[in-house]
């Protein structure tokens, strides 16, 4: 599998490590009233879509960047590769 890194171009998937669902980027607020429910969802419950899925990949044997991949679980086609920092900033993070 080839991952088209947004900065480095096409790279072999062997250089990457997959962490899993990109929902891991959205850590719940631990001070929320329903923090326990939110953390149970965050820690244990995952959607298992047949189709488009967003995943976090780490370019360990490369520039050490975190990526958000949009991958189709039926065809394995990767339709989008973004830097996780850009995705986080677009969601309103400050760093």
């Amino acid at each position: 599998m080839i991952i088209n890194h947004p900065i480095l171009g096409p790279r072999d998937a062997a250089e990457f490590v997959c962490l899993g669902d990109a929902c891991m980027m959205d850590r719940p607020d631990w001070q929320a009233d329903d923090a326990l429910d939110q953390f149970v969802e965050y820690g244990y419950l995952r959607d298992n879509p047949a189709g488009e899925h967003q995943e976090l990949w780490y370019h360990e044997q490369g520039d050490r960047s975190w990526l958000v991949l949009t991958r189709n679980t039926l065809t394995h086609e990767i339709s989008k590769v973004e830097l996780a920092r850009d995705v986080a900033r677009a969601r309103g993070r400050d760093k």
Binding site: I7, R11, Q61, G62, D63, K95
Partner: protein, 186 residues
Amino acid sequence: MPEFTLTSAPPLAGINKAYGDMHLSAPHDVAIVSISLPLGGEDAALSAVKSAYGVAMPAVGKTATSKSGETLMRLSTDLAFVVFTRATPDAEPVVAGKMKGKAYTTDQTDVWCALQLEGPGAMRALERICPLDLMGFAIGDVARTAMEHLGTIIMRTDTNGWRLLSASSSAGSFLHAVETSIKNVS
């Protein structure tokens, strides 16, 4: 009190071998210092690099060499290596002094081993263990990748010249991987 005398020895010191149309050697006195661009202070750090080395920080995947011979390798958005020749173990203060506090610097000299592969057959040997498309490498291009599972930085120094950096802790295995590939094609 016994008196000890320590002699510094780079992990692959003395490697100097020819195989057919290829030549493999371990360069002497390679000093490596990383430069990290501080969050929010990227522009100041980039201009500090420009005034310290007289060349602009290259784009990711490219290198730039100063008049005094230091090579800047831009490895990722926020990280570059300065590679230069220095025999004494004080590479980091030298670079930190030039950066004037505008970037984070870390001495990387002892954690890397270096090999230089030269010759028309070099690409033939490397393309078997390097997952990147080396045909697409221009002179001066650099990339961080893995060869035989070992993290490697590869730079094209010339039409037939390649500089390889890998972890000093697995230097012997890295040398074995490169040598095996060379022997397989020579």
